[in-house]
Amino acid sequence: MSRILILGAGISGHTVTRYLNKWIGKQHEIVVVSPNAKWNWIPSNIWVGVGQMTEEQVTFDLAQLYNKIGVRFLQAKALSMNPEGNSESATPFVTVEYTHPSKVGEQESISYDFLVNATGPKLNFGATEGLGPEHGHTVSVCTASHALEANIKLQASIDAMRAGKHQTMVVGTGHGMCTCQGAAFEYIYNVDHVLREAGVRDKARIVWLSNEYELGDFGMGGVHIKRGGYVTNGKTFAESLMVERGIEWITRAHVKKVEAGKIHYEILDGSFHEQEFDFSMLIPPFAGVGLKAFDKAGEDITSKIFAPNGFMKVDADYTPRPYLEWSAKDWPRTYQTPTYRNIFAVGIAFAPPHMISKPMQSANGTPINPTAPRTGMPSAAMAKAVAMSIRDMLNGAEKPTHTASMAEMGAACVASTGSNFFTGTAATMTVYPVVPDFEKYPDYGRDIDLTFGEIGLAGHWMKYLLHHAFIYQAKMKPGWSVLPD
């Protein structure tokens, strides 16, 4: 019997767990380590953040599910890994520290035969002074509890507007190197929607503030879609929607500091500005969770296994090259680490070879560019491919048997722009492939038939359906494995 250790129980980690449990759960032991007691369908946090869903509707208890299906669950955070074992034993292991209230602070070493790093990101609020709900002045929707707090502050702003006060709401990214603009994009439209429903929209100035070069970049260098007899850049539609909803925008911005009621930011031309706010939701930059790695002799090999930003190096081509020499082939396919055949990294935890959007620097040398998104559908696709590879390697395969390159897969993103069964809308966007491949698609880097976008009620129905379908699937209810990931 082999032991597969999965670090993380988010979208990618839980997907690996579900499939391995289904395929090999009876013959092998699966152990999941996550500091969080609950699984969270993060895309629906947007609705928690505007008071249209409760925390219970977007989360469920992990221990209960894993007990039921025979997976060993440790509510703990991984601290370090010893992929070659140590001086006493050649068996690789991971050292974890419990976060479960009954054992908080206790450490334990967990040996493994296969390791999947699906730890997701560290929400790096500390990168910008004054950012975030814990030590700063802005709110977040990155976790369900953050979203709850965001809604409390949003409702206070709505009450102030009902009392006749004007409010400035700023939504976007809190650092020049952020990714996940899509979440902020959804949130700003949902804020607009609930303000209209509350009858106070005329009292609010809503401002989008982001590190994108142009609206609609989303860390993917933007997209081109066919519409009205033209192939048009998504920027046009993103700007159109902002104007339609009366939202102003500031792009190419790196937030340097947030004070109570005031955001200090720099833009690409090197100039510095201030933006006052009464309510602000800014996404933090992401970093790796800070796992350390040691070899058999106890030497620190963290820099060999992880990139400087803390994400794990996998089978990507990390050779530094100028933007014009970047290629779809640089992107990883199997997510196996180059040094250890039994270690994989999926979801946000793997180190991308480079960004997708073009790197930009301000006149002062500050990097201001969205980093590569790797959440949602791509996360699940790479997780399933890794689960299949581990299953086959346990059955004798020498190498990973399945691939899921972001340069060979598509992604669908349904971004809510207002939640209501009859009057709600959402922007449905698909891209194929996620990472543009200009060798295959010379004009736009993507298949223009499979890359599309539209706004409408159908998108809201899709978003609502996906919410229920993915939570049903994550709870592993009957027939879950026939649902698409």
């Binding site: 046009t236 104007v243 102003e248 598509g410 409408g456 159908a458 899709m462 698409p484």
Partner: protein
Amino acid sequence: MPGKITNREPYQQAYYPPSPTGLTRYMRTSLIWQAFRFLVINLKILKLMAKSHH
């Protein structure tokens, strides 16, 4: 006291992007049209997913 505003400032952020027509806005929440679009979007996503698996 400022005079009555009778013109509109053109060179601003909101001046340039396209605006949806009344028909476009209506179709976004038209139940029949959106039911059809729902099917189309689902088919497109299924096609995209079929091409994505290796």
